[in-house]
Structures are given as structure tokens and as C-alpha cells.
């Protein structure tokens, strides 16, 4: 029973991380329907930017956290401006391959500068943050993650619901042409959604870096694990991303704990194929029925 409880808690923690990583991905897809294969690399860029600011520049934690987020925001804006904007209206394969090319570029650059080794942040979280309750044992990093993640969820919920830019973004996601004809600056919305998505990616990069240490290969493989998560939750649902992430996380830890550790990494993809066959728009996705 203890083993079960520990697996359950671990699964929820890992899954929450997946969910947070998937949030930025969903945001890009929702507003501009671009499938972003470079998401893992955006996450890695955030993690490494934070590393540089904290260990090399020796800035205080809070300041470097905000500088990292601002840097990622700018990066997302630039990426959209330089690479994605010329491709608006082009066939799907070019957009997909462009993000794949970007992923290779970013990964190469990061490897060139930092190498493929594991880097770690200095410890800065107070140990009192951890929860130790009988058989359940949650380390402080996960608690911090939970706090950061929920804060961001609430902030984005408020942003999309009440701010004018958030409402523009929702309108573009809902119907691009109608939004355009009502005077919404669609290109600005695209740029903004890339910037926000990169910001969220950077935030999740920092969180992942605190928990597992930073390694380009691990972080970019998280970018691929986002696919089962978002398909399960529905490609265009931010809440669905979190719930999909938790389900995938639980599935992974339970497979790893009870069946075989090697099956752990492939189980999400097997589930992915079944979901695609049975319910392609996921649990919370917008259903556009088109049988082919």
C-alpha cells in the first residue's frame, strides 16, 4: 500500500510537470494551429538562461527568474517574427518541418555552448517546504512546482478571461476569419501567443531543471512527450493539458513500478495511438467532426 501511495504521489507530481510543459504548446496550437516540435528546446533555453543568470552572473534568484521569463518572452516574439510569419497560409508540412528545423538549430546551439552534460542549480529552496505525512513523502521541489504551476494557471485563466489581449487571443482561436473582420490584429495575436508560450516554456524549464537537473537531451525529449499529453487532453484545451499530463504521469509511474521500467517510456505513445483511433479530439478538445 505504501508503495502504491508513493507511486500515486510521484505520478501526480511528474504528470503535473508534463502538464505545465504542455501548456505553452497548447497555447501556440490554440491560436495559430502550429504543431511546435521545438517546444522541448524552448524549455531547454529557459532552463539554461536561468542557469547562466544564477551561477555565472550570480544574480539573486527572484531577479534571475524574472529576467529569464522576459528573455523567453522576447525570444518567442522573435521566433514568430522571423520564422513563422512568412509561413502563414503555407501547407502543414512546411510549418511542421520548420519547427523541426528550429528544434535542431536550438539544440545544436545549446550543445555547442553548454555541452551535453548534466548541470544543476544551486540549492535555494527551503527544506521546510516539503510535506512528510506518514507514507506520503513530497520533496520541497514538487511543492514549489505545484505552487508555481497553480499560480501560472490562475494568472493565465484571469488573463484570458478579463484582459482585452486575452479576449483577442480567444477570439482568434475560435474563428480566425471572424476575428480578422471584427478588427482584431491577428498577426499581433500570433506573435503574442508565441511570446507567452515561450515564457511558459521557460518557466517549466526552470522547474524541470530544479527537479531533474538540466540536460539538453532530457529536456528536448520532454518536448516530444508533450504530444501524448496534449492529444489525451485535447490539443486546444489548457486545462486538458494539465489533466492529460497527470494521467500520462500516473500511467508512466505505475507501468514503471508494476510492469517493467523499460516499458515506461513507450507506454504514453501506445496510449496515444489508441486515443487517436477512438477519440482523436481528446478528453476536452473542441470536436470538429470530419470523417475521412
Amino acid at each position: 500500500m505504501n508503495f502504491f501511495m508513493q507511486l500515486l504521489v510521484n505520478g501526480i507530481c511528474v504528470g503535473f510537470l508534463y502538464g505545465i510543459s504542455a501548456m505553452g504548446f497548447v497555447m501556440i496550437f490554440k491560436s495559430s494551429s502550429v504543431l511546435n516540435f521545438a517546444h522541448g528546446e524552448l524549455i531547454a533555453i529557459g532552463a539554461f538562461l536561468f542557469l547562466v543568470l544564477v551561477t555565472w552572473a550570480q544574480l539573486p534568484i527572484a531577479l534571475s527568474f524574472f529576467i529569464t521569463l522576459a528573455g523567453c518572452f522576447a525570444l518567442g516574439f522573435i521566433v514568430e517574427r522571423l520564422f513563422l510569419r512568412p509561413l502563414i497560409g503555407e501547407p502543414l508540412i512546411f510549418v511542421i518541418m520548420l519547427t523541426v528545423g528550429l528544434a535542431a538549430m536550438f539544440k545544436g546551439l545549446i550543445l555547442l555552448i553548454f555541452g551535453g552534460n548534466l548541470h544543476t542549480y544551486p540549492r535555494f529552496l527551503p527544506a521546510s517546504l516539503g510535506i512528510d505525512y506518514g507514507p506520503v513523502n513530497i520533496p520541497p521541489v514538487y511543492v514549489a512546482t505545484l505552487i508555481i504551476g497553480i499560480t501560472f494557471l490562475v494568472l493565465f485563466g484571469l488573463f484570458f478571461k478579463y484582459s482585452s489581449q486575452g479576449i483577442y487571443m480567444r477570439s482568434v482561436a475560435d474563428n480566425q476569419r471572424a476575428a480578422l473582420s471584427l478588427g482584431v490584429h491577428v498577426r499581433r495575436v500570433f506573435a503574442l501567443s508565441w511570446a507567452i508560450a515561450a515564457l511558459v516554456a521557460g518557466m517549466s524549464g526552470i522547474v524541470l531543471g530544479i527537479i531533474n537537473g538540466i540536460n539538453v537531451h532530457d529536456l528536448s525529449s520532454i518536448g516530444l512527450k508533450v504530444f501524448p499529453v496534449v492529444i489525451l487532453g485535447g490539443l486546444d484545451s489548457i486545462g486538458g493539458a494539465i489533466i492529460g499530463g497527470i494521467i500520462i504521469g500516473l500511467l508512466e509511474t505505475f507501468t514503471g513500478g508494476y510492469i517493467s521500467p523499460s516499458l515506461r517510456d513507450v507506454v504514453p505513445y501506445i496510449v496515444l495511438v489508441f486515443i487517436l483511433m477512438v477519440k482523436p479530439y481528446g478528453l476536452f478538445g473542441l470536436v470538429e467532426i470530419e470523417r475521412v
Binding site: F94, I96, L98, G101, A104, L109, P228, L272, M277, V292
Partner: protein, 356 residues
């Protein structure tokens, strides 16, 4: 004697047959024969085994890239699992040759058929999915195949890999780079010929119709699910043949090369070469293979000059960066690929001095 055809001074086609013609002029056909003749005459005189190895790699990747172009470029179904299918072909040939003692001449087409079957299984989601959902499904296929190859140890020997026996063709042993050069390039010519001609039949036209508008295609009576499966089958057949030859050429197979990066490389080849263009697939395969070798050579030099050795930098990531940059630049500036550049070059020669 047949009347020779030359370039007309305008578009005077009044027959569908003329639209279907592979060669616009008889001169083009002659040039192709001369080119093939030169290839077979010139390459054997290259003494360096490294050059021959590069040429052979170009040939093998071209076969697989043509297959992917049938699926992506002509049928419009984006697949991120082609590298895994290539691996299935390699493993099928290796297993047939070692545990069943199947000779080379049968093992290669059999590997192609097995891969075609696997490809059709992973093409089943295309019955309900299209566009990016199908892309994600093939991505999952890539991971599932990779996992199966590594963990089905009784069949694939896991991470230890399989060593193949020597290939022999009708009693003649295929040995060394030169022996494989003849096999690979005769096969490449045959496979190119088949692919070009498939596209001129009703099957090819159905593929193109599905790519351009699947609903209209269904409305015109094309059973699109069967045709999509067929396209998956043909494309993985090409990948399987290429993989089988590759396995024999490399003598031993392990699971490592058949990762997502290989699939991405194949898609890059057909985008850089030109989607929906069979000579383009060969151009793209040549381009990517040469780029890989060039970058390997370049990083080798950088490491040897000691300029960067003191910094402890690993230059291998440079390859990844340049590879990504090439894809991005081609998509942004010439999405129709090398085939289009080649066409512009040719027509500007033809139209000289009035080319624009």
C-alpha cells in the same frame, strides 16, 4: 524513322498523353542515358573506398527518399516514421538471412514486403485521421517500432545487433564497395523507373487527387482509405528495400541508427529536394548525405587544429545546427526545393538571352 521532338516555342499540348510524357524532348532522354553511362563508367575508376562509400550511401538513401516522396509528396500523408520502417527492412533482411538462411536475392524483396506490411499496419490510423493528427500517430509509430526492435530480444538480439552473411547474387559474391555499387545503382534505376511510372497510372492519379482534396477524391469514387493504405505500403516497401540493402552493405545491424532523427532527415531530404518530384527526392538525398559528410569532415578538421581543443568544445553539435539551419532556409526561401532550382536553371539556359 521516328520524328525527333524538340522544345516547342510555347505550350502546344493538345493531348493528355503529351502531359504525361516523362521526357519533354528526345534530347533529354539521350542525356539521361549518357548520364547513366557516365555514372557506371566513371565511378568504378574512383579508387578511394571512402568516395565509393559516400556514393553508395547516396544510392541507398535515394531509394528510401523516393518511397517517402510517394507518401508525403504525392499522397499528402505526412509520416514521421520512415526511419523506423527503414530499420524494419534492415532487421527483416538480417533475420531472414541469419536464422532462415534465405539468399540475398530473395531476402531483399521479402524484407521489402514485410516492411510494406508493417507500414500498412501503422497506416491504419490514416483511415480516421489526417493532417497533423496523422503526423502525431506516425510519430508514435516511430517510438513503438524503436522500442520493439530493442526489446524483442529473442528475434532482434536486442542491443547486441545481428551480423549478416556475405551477399551473393546468382552465385556471384557481392563484395566490397564496388560490388555493392552495381547492385545499389541498378536497383535505384529500377525503383526510380517504377516510381515514375506508378505516378502515371490510375493509382498515381488517385494519390494526387487525395493529396489535393480528399473529399473531392472520395466524391469522385476513389476509396481513399484503401489508396492511403496502398500509399503507405508502397512507401514502406521502398524503405524496406533500402534498409535491407543497407543491412547487407553495413554487414551488421543495431537499433541505434533508426531513431527519430533519421525520420526527420528523410523528410528534410524530400523537402530540400522538392515535394512531389521523384528526381527531386534523389537530389535531396544527395544533398543531405553530402552535407552530412562535409560537416563530418569539417568538424574533424576543427578538432584536429587544436584551436578549439583547449576549450574542451565538442564540435559535433555544429552538424545538428547546420542541418536545422538548412531546413529552415530552404522552407523560407525555396519551399519547392532543389528540383525547382534545377528547373529554373535549365529554363534560363533555354530562354537565354531573354531569361528573367
Amino acid at each position: 524513322m521516328k520524328k525527333l521532338r524538340f522544345h516547342p516555342c510555347g505550350n502546344f499540348r493538345d493531348h493528355y498523353k503529351q502531359e504525361l510524357a516523362i521526357f519533354e524532348t528526345d534530347f533529354g532522354r539521350l542525356m539521361l542515358w549518357i548520364g547513366i553511362g557516365l555514372l557506371f563508367a566513371a565511378v568504378p575508376t574512383l579508387s578511394s573506398p571512402y568516395t565509393l562509400y559516400v556514393v553508395n550511401t547516396v544510392g541507398i538513401t535515394s531509394i528510401a527518399a523516393i518511397g517517402l516522396n510517394i507518401l508525403v509528396g504525392y499522397t499528402g500523408q505526412i509520416s514521421l516514421g520512415h526511419g523506423a520502417f527503414f530499420g524494419v527492412g534492415a532487421y527483416a533482411a538480417a533475420i531472414l538471412a541469419t536464422s532462415a538462411n534465405v539468399p540475398f536475392l530473395i531476402a531483399v524483396p521479402a524484407a521489402g514486403l514485410i516492411t510494406a506490411m508493417v507500414g500498412m499496419i501503422f497506416g491504419i490510423p490514416s483511415g480516421r485521421l489526417k493532417g497533423l493528427y496523422l503526423t502525431i500517430a506516425t510519430l508514435a509509430g516511430q517510438f513503438i517500432i524503436e522500442y520493439t526492435i530493442i526489446h524483442w530480444e529473442s528475434l532482434t538480439m536486442g542491443t547486441r545487433g545481428i551480423t549478416l552473411p556475405e551477399a551473393s547474387l546468382l552465385g556471384i559474391r557481392v563484395r566490397g564497395d564496388l560490388g555493392f555499387f552495381y547492385v545499389i545503382f541498378i536497383l535505384l534505376i529500377a525503383m526510380t523507373w517504377i516510381a515514375v511510372n506508378i505516378m502515371r497510372t490510375r493509382y498515381g492519379r488517385a494519390f494526387i487527387a487525395i493529396r489535393d482534396n480528399d473529399r473531392a477524391a472520395e466524391g469522385m469514387g476513389i476509396p481513399i482509405f484503401q489508396y492511403k493504405l496502398l500509399s503507405f505500403g508502397i512507401s514502406s516497401f521502398y524503405a524496406g528495400i533500402a534498409g535491407a540493402i543497407w543491412a547487407y552493405y553495413m554487414i551488421s545491424v543495431t537499433a541505434e541508427p533508426f531513431n527519430l532523427m533519421l525520420s526527420v532527415e528523410y523528410i528534410a531530404m524530400i523537402i530540400i529536394g522538392g515535394l512531389g518530384n521523384i528526381p527531386g527526392a534523389i537530389l535531396g538525398a544527395t544533398f543531405i548525405t553530402l552535407l552530412n559528410e562535409l560537416l563530418r569532415w569539417f568538424t574533424g578538421i576543427l578538432i584536429n587544429t587544436n584551436l578549439f581543443a583547449g576549450l574542451g568544445l565538442n564540435m559535433a553539435p555544429l552538424r545538428e545546427f547546420v542541418f536545422g539551419l538548412t531546413i529552415v532556409l530552404f522552407i523560407l526561401f525555396e519551399p519547392r526545393g532543389l528540383a525547382e532550382i534545377w528547373r529554373i536553371l535549365r529554363s534560363s539556359f533555354r530562354l537565354w538571352p531573354f531569361s528573367y
